[in-house]
């Protein structure tokens, strides 16, 4: 039985790209309203693991997941699950910002119009709230009608966060959300995440060890498709149990 406070509970998750197995028996518990950092060398399966939580991998032919992933106690790998509702509840931020070719306002309104019956006034309110929630409102309130693609990279990423928040998710998955963003923009997003943790369960993939130790509560270290060690971030970075983890967090390989 799953413990109540775990938002996500992964059991013996295996993942295949055609014949190539990328994840091996992943077991991972993710606590609600915490930030969990997923770290590990390039190609170890971090993105692959994250992309199971909202079943986004199903866009691509030949990719399949085996095992169980419980979200709020329900196995989301069950074929009978409502995929569109799952994805509303589990938002995702990608490495490269992907503003839609439409105005800032319409970008954020997109998921609202998609999922909620809201009047024009309610939509406008929700857009503003989401933009405030993503710490972007002050910068864009005078250019809501301008193209979302005309913003700076960091602003585009926060626009994507606002758009994800607007769907009112419970979980936010972030796959290297700041690796394409300059240091100032990165700092803003990190501050933002610290505030978002109150409302959402956040899982973030990062290559930046400082970032992981600064913002996360729990850290999971992946290596060659397996989860080597999971624990409180402080412990992972100061006193890891596993030699591989120690070598990785101390920068001896990566």
């Amino acid at each position: 039985m799953q413990k109540k406070k775990n938002k996500i509970e992964t059991k013996r998750l295996n993942f295949f790209y055609g014949d190539h197995q990328a994840l091996f028996d992943n077991d991972l518990s993710i606590e609600a309203n915490k930030i969990t950092a997923v770290i590990g060398p390039s190609g170890c399966g971090k993105s692959t693991h994250l992309r199971v939580y909202n079943r986004i991998f199903e866009l691509h032919r030949g990719q399949r997941a085996e095992g169980e992933v419980f979200i709020d106690g329900k196995d989301i790998l069950d074929p009978g699950i409502d995929l569109l509702d799952l994805r509303r509840r589990v938002g995702m931020i990608f490495q490269k910002p992907t503003p839609f070719p439409m105005s800032v306002f319409d970008n954020v309104a997109y998921p609202i119009r998609l999922h909620f019956k809201a009047s024009q006034k309610e939509i406008a309110e929700r857009v503003e709230n989401a933009l405030r929630g993503a710490a972007l409102w002050d910068e864009v309130k005078d250019k809501l009608r301008e193209s979302g693609q005309a913003l700076s990279g960091g602003q585009q990423q926060r626009l994507c966060i606002a758009r994800a928040i607007a769907a009112e998710p419970e979980i936010l998955l972030m796959d290297e959300p700041t690796s394409a963003i300059d240091p100032v923009g990165t700092l803003k997003i990190e501050e933002l995440m610290d505030r978002l943790r109150e409302r959402f369960t956040i899982v973030i993939v990062t290559h930046n060890m400082q970032q992981a130790s600064r913002i996360s509560d729990t850290t999971a270290f992946f290596y060659k498709g397996s989860i080597v060690e999971v624990g409180p971030t402080k412990l992972i970075f100061t006193n890891p149990r596993n030699k591989l983890t120690e070598d990785y967090v101390s920068g001896r390989f990566g």
Binding site: L59, L84, D85, R87, F94, T98, P101, M102, Y110, A164
Partner: protein, 286 residues
């Protein structure tokens, strides 16, 4: 080890440059030559009457080309109405859903074959299924023939434009909880739109000048195109051909050249519009 002499490579490089420079200027010279000739031959009988009146029967002096231009617009618009909905749908399906499936590969192959079928054969086919069966020529049969020529081109451009859009956009739409169909018809379409419009305009412009298929189908008439579905319908390409080639009268030759000039100007305008959409897309990519 001895290094290879760079002499030949350098010579080859200069020859290559000289040749491509020459080819480019040849293209420009040819283009200018075509335009110059059409303007020289066609400008003298350009007048308001030409664009207001229908053509007169063979040999009668006077008359305009307005009926032929209108007929061309109707036949081309009819072709677009027939070809675009299925072609856009097929192009989108190939890029978004068919991908590498057997059906998609078969469809792609068919489209490629269709693209290579000579327009005269397409015209003959339309004649066989729409003219001999109904017993009359018609503008609609012409539209049908042109639609067959337009279809594969539009399928290809549409597929190209949609598959040119990265999966990142698709994934971020799905990640918000949008369905495949909805994201395709809203956001992906928006991203692909200007490129598709460019391709469609070029395809429309291309078939509007086709003559051979119309000789089998729409034929020609010295009347306004009132019987689009049931009778011969005039068109600019056929007027140009018959006035300049089949007529002994100098006045008709002049009108034929003027029609060619009018056609060229109109198509140039369509091309510039298409480029404008294309340029907007290129600017957005930056």
């Amino acid at each position: 080890m001895k290094t290879r002499s760079t002499f030949f490579r350098k010579t080859k490089d200069s020859l290559m440059r000289a040749f491509s420079g020459f080819a480019t200027s040849m293209a420009l010279v040819l283009m200018a030559w075509v335009i110059f000739t059409i303007v020289r031959e066609g400008h003298s009988s350009i007048s308001a009457e030409l664009f207001l009146n229908a053509s007169k029967p063979f040999g009668e002096v006077g008359g305009g080309i307005a009926n032929a231009l209108l007929g061309t617009v109707m036949i081309t618009a009819g072709a677009a109405a027939l070809a675009l909905p299925p072609a856009l749908a097929a192009g989108i399906w190939l890029a978004e859903f068919g991908k590498d499936s057997l059906l998609a590969r078969a469809a792609r192959f068919t489209v490629n074959v269709m693209m290579g079928v000579p327009s005269v054969i397409v015209g003959l086919f339309a004649y066989g299924v729409l003219v001999t069966t109904t017993g009359h020529f018609s503008g609609f049969a012409g539209s049908f023939a042109l639609a067959i020529l337009m279809f594969p081109v539009v399928v290809r451009t549409t597929e190209d434009q949609f598959s040119g859009i990265g999966d990142a956009l698709r994934e971020s739409l799905l990640a918000l909880g949008a369905s495949r169909a909805r994201s395709t018809l809203t956001v992906i379409w928006r991203a692909a739109r200007s490129g598709v419009v460019t391709g469609v305009l070029l395809a429309v412009a291309r078939v509007s000048g086709e003559t051979a298929p119309l000789l089998f189908t729409a034929l020609f008439a010295d009347t306004w195109p009132t019987s689009y579905f049931s009778g011969p319908t005039p068109s600019a390409p056929v007027l140009i051909t018959s006035y300049t080639m089949d007529s002994p009268f100098e006045s008709m030759h002049r009108i034929g050249w003027s029609a060619a000039l009018a056609m060229a100007v109109i198509l140039l305008a369509v091309n510039i519009t298409a480029r404008y959409f294309g340029a907007k897309r290129a600017a957005k990519r930056k």
